[in-house]
Amino acid sequence: MKILVTTKRVEHYESKIRINAQGTGIVTDGLTYMINPFDEIALEEAVRLKDEHSAEVVVVAIGTEDATQQLRTGLAIGADRAILVKATQPIDSDVAARILKAVVDREEPNLVLMGKQAIDDDANQTGQLLAEFLGWPQATFAAKTESLESEAEKQKEPAIDLDDDTATVVREIDGGLETVEIDLPAVITVDLRLNIPRYPALPNIIKAKKKPLDELTLADLGITAEPKVTVLGYEPLPERQAGVVVDNVQTLLDKLQNEAKVL
């Protein structure tokens, strides 16, 4: 069993994001970075499945040399190998999925696990596109039936049920959970309520430096990056306006109905 997991490098969720003066991107000075939290959950699930199925876990990231930090974190959490696909140009979900398809063609994993979206662009497309390009089944928004406070979670049991040919996945859908069974190989994207990712232990952090990390270029994979999406500009959210104190409920209702038009 081989599991491929994505570890996208994203701005830390506690970072204060500022738009640059030209409106062409964000100011990166002083930002800290992390593995996309949804990918972290995917990796945690992969590491749990690894323990149960003696699987090999391979982490993959697309980006500059900086992304090796996130790959090393992935290795410290429990992946066996890492692949960095070096790219400096803008990459949209479509190009990312094409790159990942080329990696999957080389690696031939039984399962691709990835976050349902990345917290930077929140596109929520790459997993679905990848499954389409591969012609593989997909199960999106994987979750756990039990709560994250449950005994199963404390015991670090995997929520995705795997056997040689199929995966049984609980999905979050509007108003509830749905259980699907899909054939392997497959793409599974994960939601927030699947597991609580572990802290990589310090000895593993130190040992991760010695685990293999391969670098590939887009040329190696035969890909030319031609994004279908062009970002025209960025704008900050409008500053929040000061509130007003109203005298009574009638005035409040009136304002909600006629000014805010939310009732």
Binding site: G30, R72, Y199, P200, A201, L202, I205, I206
Partner: protein, 386 residues
């Protein structure tokens, strides 16, 4: 991750990664409860296990006994990250093992290490160090607690004072006198909770470090097997001196880390707080005060990192570590005082982090050897008065 070019050369990716873990733990497990634990003058025992599960305890101790296998900088970063919650008490409570276990690791047999170290690093047991006595502080050669050999056991009599984690400790590394020789007559023992004749007081009421429990330990005809002695008789003093270097560096680190947190709080407050129609950052007097605080914090950290790096290389830096501790005390006291001043009335309220830090740092020139003792050591090593 590490923006200051002065500190970056000492650290690698494993430090960055570990620091992230420590920050996450602080944010999720300490910060939300810091005020309540300070007021309650205790933190839940479960925190030891949570910190162990997160792989944060014993960062620089050998992996073979459940430690992180890292170096002194991993431990320093654990202290720095933890202080962002603004409670030194929680850190020194979690960290009492950092002074209690080294004598076991330095003097203990393989069997002793395997018996006492892993349960502590797993967060299942709490360890404390018992050196200070009601009548003996920095003058450790005057330790009066006696361990008298009686057949296959020792009988301990005496008491230990101001023992961090003493109320809850499951094992205590105790320094006791096995002969009259002031230095050569000191030996280390491990005393386990529940041993007849060993009792602990209620938590002592303190000015700062409030979230940690501090106790008086009493030994009355407390009989322990000879297997609980660490190393040979008389090896206690030297081990204690080695332990002190590490303890003093950690206290110096609390100094620069407290200064950094107080500075960050003061910077934030100075931007938010308005007076006479502008933020108080708009006044030169505030900006210059903050500039001095930043300068002191940087200088302090730079010295501490240099000393730590020399220790990591295995060099002897006794004079430097004493100097670093004293300088860090001065910096922490001054910077926290300025921070309280910038906060004004809010700085006097217990809900402010700067108020807690102001009280917490007052212990630094007292614990782990007073500033006066540090100066005596520096003077002696530099050959003054000869």
């Amino acid at each position: 991750m590490f923006e200051d070019p002065l500190v970056r050369p000492f650290l690698d990716d494993s430090h960055a990664q570990f620091y992230q873990n420590c920050l996450r733990f602080t944010r999720e497990e300490i910060t939300p409860h810091a005020y309540a634990w300070e007021e309650a003058e205790i933190f839940p025992r479960e925190l030891y296990e949570k910190a162990a599960d997160a792989g944060l305890l014993g960062a620089s101790m050998p992996e073979a006994y459940g430690g992180g296998g890292g170096d002194i900088f991993h431990l320093i970063l654990f202290c720095e990250a933890g202080l962002w919650a603004g409670t030194t008490g929680v850190l020194v409570g979690l960290g009492s093992m950092e002074i209690a276990l080294p004598p076991i690791l330095a003097l203990g047999t393989e069997e002793q290490k395997r018996r006492w170290v892993p349960p502590v690093l797993r967060g299942k047991q709490i360890a404390a160090l018992g050196v200070t006595e009601p009548n003996t502080g920095s003058d450790v050669a005057s330790v009066q607690t006696r361990a008298i050999r009686d057949g296959e056991s020792y009988v301990l009599n005496g008491s230990k004072m101001f023992i961090t984690s003493g109320v809850r400790a499951d094992i205590v590394t105790v320094l006791a006198r096995t002969s009259e020789d002031p230095h050569g007559g000191l030996s280390f023992f491990v005393v386990e909770k529940g041993t007849p004749g060993f009792s602990t007081s209620q938590g002592l009421k303190k000015m700062g470090w409030r979230a940690s429990d501090t106790a008086i330990l009493t030994f009355e005809d407390c009989r322990i097997p000879i297997e609980n002695r660490l190393g040979d008789e008389g090896m206690g003093f030297l081990a204690l001196m080695q332990n002190f270097e590490r303890e003093r560096l950690l206290l110096a680190v609390y100094g620069h880390a407290s200064a950094e947190v107080a500075l960050a709080e003061a910077e934030r407050y100075a931007r938010e707080r308005a007076a006479f129609g502008r933020s108080i950052m708009g006044f030169q007097v505030t900006r210059h005060k903050l500039a001095r605080m930043a300068t002191l914090a940087r200088a302090c950290k730079a010295l501490n990192y240099q000393v730590a790096d020399a220790m990591r290389r295995g060099e002897s830096v006794l004079e430097q570590v004493c100097a670093a501790k004293n300088f860090a005390c001065d910096v922490a006291l001054e910077v926290c005082d300025h921070a309280v001043q910038i906060f004004g009335g809010m700085g006097y309220m217990r809900e402010s982090i700067v108020e807690r830090l102001y009280r917490d740092v007052r212990l630094l020139p007292i614990g782990g050897g007073t500033s006066e003792i540090m100066n005596e050591i520096i003077a002696k090593l530099r050959g003054y008065g000869r």
